[in-house]
């Protein structure tokens, strides 16, 4: 089955089983998102892709596309909502872009620019999250984690290792690794794992290759994340 729905008034084709976000992406239309990734089953946790469909708010990444569905995305209301969500993600962790190896390649930062987030607005929580530098090839800087679970999904579904999982609840939810010691070195992670490359922010970093591409020449320095697909940065 095939069909079309409308996104901000213009038609988007879809085929059976696609979500609104997938169909929009195929049509070269950008809906801001963080936890969705074309290679993985969507789960709708970051909520940055929230759209309005027939008067109801829904995450575009889990909303099934349906014939004739009228979807709003680029409205002031939704931009304001997404800005709020990105601000909440920023104040939840410890994000210092100028000193981050991922600056310019970071999707949180890029979405922040695309949504014109100019301040944090909310009080920062300044959590205490120690680094894990135990692994010979990979560094974990939990300060930047946005809990998108992409590494969890990649490690379980692609690498078949389940190196990562989530522990705790509510604001204490955090990324954990599959070892009694809690140290990455004691897991089966290898630097070539899919889970290592999938992090949209700067948590999972390969050691020994910092700043190989100078700031100013990185993915989203060349073109913003919301640029038309032929120009947009690909991480």
């Amino acid at each position: 089955m095939k069909g079309t729905f409308t996104l901000d008034g213009s038609e988007v084709p879809f085929h059976e089983g696609q979500t609104v976000l997938e169909a929009a992406r195929d049509a070269g239309r950008y809906i801001p998102h963080l936890c969705a990734h074309p290679e993985f089953e969507p789960h709708g946790s970051c909520r940055v892709c929230t759209v309005k469909a027939e008067g109801r708010m829904a995450a575009a990444c889990t909303l099934p596309a349906r014939e004739g569905l009228a979807v709003e995305s680029a409205t002031d209301e939704l931009r304001e909502l997404r800005r709020g969500l990105v601000q909440l993600l920023f104040v939840e962790g410890n994000h210092f872009c100028p000193s981050c190896e991922k600056s310019g390649d970071c999707q949180l930062q890029a979405v922040g620019y695309a949504l014109e987030v100019r301040s944090l607005h909310f009080p920062q929580l300044f959590p205490d999250r120690p680094l894990d530098a135990s692994h010979p090839d990979v560094l974990l800087d939990f300060n930047r984690c946005i809990l998108c679970e992409l590494c969890v999904r990649a490690s379980a579904e692609v690498d078949h290792k389940s190196v990562f999982a989530l522990g705790g609840r509510g604001i204490d939810k955090h990324l954990i690794v599959n070892a009694e010691s809690g140290r990455l070195a004691d897991t089966s992670l290898s630097v070539t794992d899919t889970a290592v490359g999938v992090c949209p922010v700067g948590v999972i970093l390969k050691k020994g290759r910092g700043f190989t591409v100078p700031l100013g020449q990185r993915t989203y320095d060349r073109a913003p994340i919301d640029a038309p697909p032929e120009k947009a940065g690909k991480p």
């Binding site: 909440l88 809990l147 190196v163 705790g168 609840r169 204490d172 599959n178 009694e180």
Partner: protein
Amino acid sequence: MSPAELSQLLHRHHGDPNRLLQMLREVQAAAGWVSPEVITELAKGLTLPRARVEGVATFYTLLATRPRGEYQVLFADNIIERFHGSVALRERLCAALGVAPGALRPDGRVSVGTTSCIGLSDQPASLLVNGLAIARLTVERVDAIAALIGQRAPLDQWPAELFHVDEPIRRAGLLLGAHLEPGAAVRAALARSSEALLEELKRSKLRGRGGAGFSTHDKWRAARDAPGPTRFVVCNADEGEPGTFKDRTLLRRQLDAVLDGMTVAAHAIGAQRGFIYLRGEYLFIAPAIEAALAARRAAHLLGRDVLGRTGFDFDLELHLGAGAYVCGEESALLESLEGRRGIPRRRPPYPVTHGYLQRPTVVNNVETFASVAHVALAGGARFAELGTERSTGTRVHSVSGDCARPGLYELPMGASVRELLDACGAEAPIQAVQVGGPSRTLLSPRELDRALCFEDLPSAGAFMVFGPQRDLLEVVASFARFFAHESCGFCTPCRVGTTQLQGAVDALVGGRGTRRDVRHALRLCALMRDASHCGLGTTAGRPFMQLYEKFKPTIERSLSSLEFRPTFDLDEALAPARALTGRDDERAHLEDP
């Protein structure tokens, strides 16, 4: 726990990963905490990734992944309990035991912390000690508890009277006034075909009592019509909404009606297995449920060929939660039942087609199943005579707060708020009434003629009365703290928003609030309402929004006149540096700007 004990535990649960939470509960009960070594061994025994077991163990409040002492005391930190002096009683117990709040005493004997409402706000203040409830706390009872812990008396040697829980049924109706023989409703149901039974249910117009009010008939028919040979019936006995305790009473006084209702459901939809998911805080009810299940098996009300009906095989299991309000949401409950973190599922698909183990599943509230028993016995038309056009039957209200007679009140659907206030002897003048708990409606005195039914005020049964002496901001702050504590953390708006909202409301309560805090709070409420993954997040901002809409002067009075309040004290920030350098002289401080 020794390796032998662990291996017995695994064996008892057939090495079934779906039973992980039940195993963790048993480890907690036996060892007092779930150690990293036990997590590793359980993961090996169940061939699960260790991190998954750790993820489950760290999700539930009543599981400790650090030593919490031989005696683990958790005070219920609900606003009703606070108004009955729970904070002072907690401090008294801490002082008597020489332990800091929330910390483990250095000798490893005891810790005293807090948890959310434990379903005893009709007899506050209350606490859990090693999972068992103690209600009606007074200075004397707290001192007695301190002495018992001081003597290191084993829990089973504590006076039984301490653990007595009242069931103050103030007004009984169809459900609470019934005297049903075990199995009477099942016999009545088996006299009809499952199709005829569903028709009776349709005629009754019964709607689910969990709060959402979905048609029970429609739910059951959808589950019956879903493809596949295996079906499940699940009783949601995870009432966690602060101020709700009616399921406690129904399970202790009308258990056979509830179990009959579940068996009737099995007949109607063709289910073979069922679960009672009991909130962990109701551990004290578990033995009676287990005994009733055993008695029903002996009486052929459960098991193979129920009541001699060939091919009607149905059995029930009791599962215990471990302290997570979010598991009251039906899909999170199913996740928990499958031994995982209680994260609400993405919907569709719905549990009626993809429930427990992705099989068709009916999940209903305790009160719904009790009502079903009466529909099966007396027919749908009789049931529909009670209540209103679109809300039939009765409703059991859990009444607490500033009234002479807190307890259980069963009224026909559609009764007015005022009627219930009069019945419970509410203290005049009423300042506010919270109907349905924090996630529902805050009523001002101008709204007391509203009706308690789905058409007007849907409720999961909580009814809290606030007299003139109460600070409503403190009430809302308590609700904000509750949602922050109970957010599962899955989605951004609820995970971060509930904590931010708690901060903003706390600032207002402390008299440090500014208009900016109010604007922040309102923006957070809207964000959570619009963007959250499940009902917990979408309703978490309601208490503050309703306070703002209906009780604006309460907020205005609390504001300091400032538009801006510094959140950061530069001199304070130098304190660690002063401590490190051992200096506290004038020049180690910043001058006042």
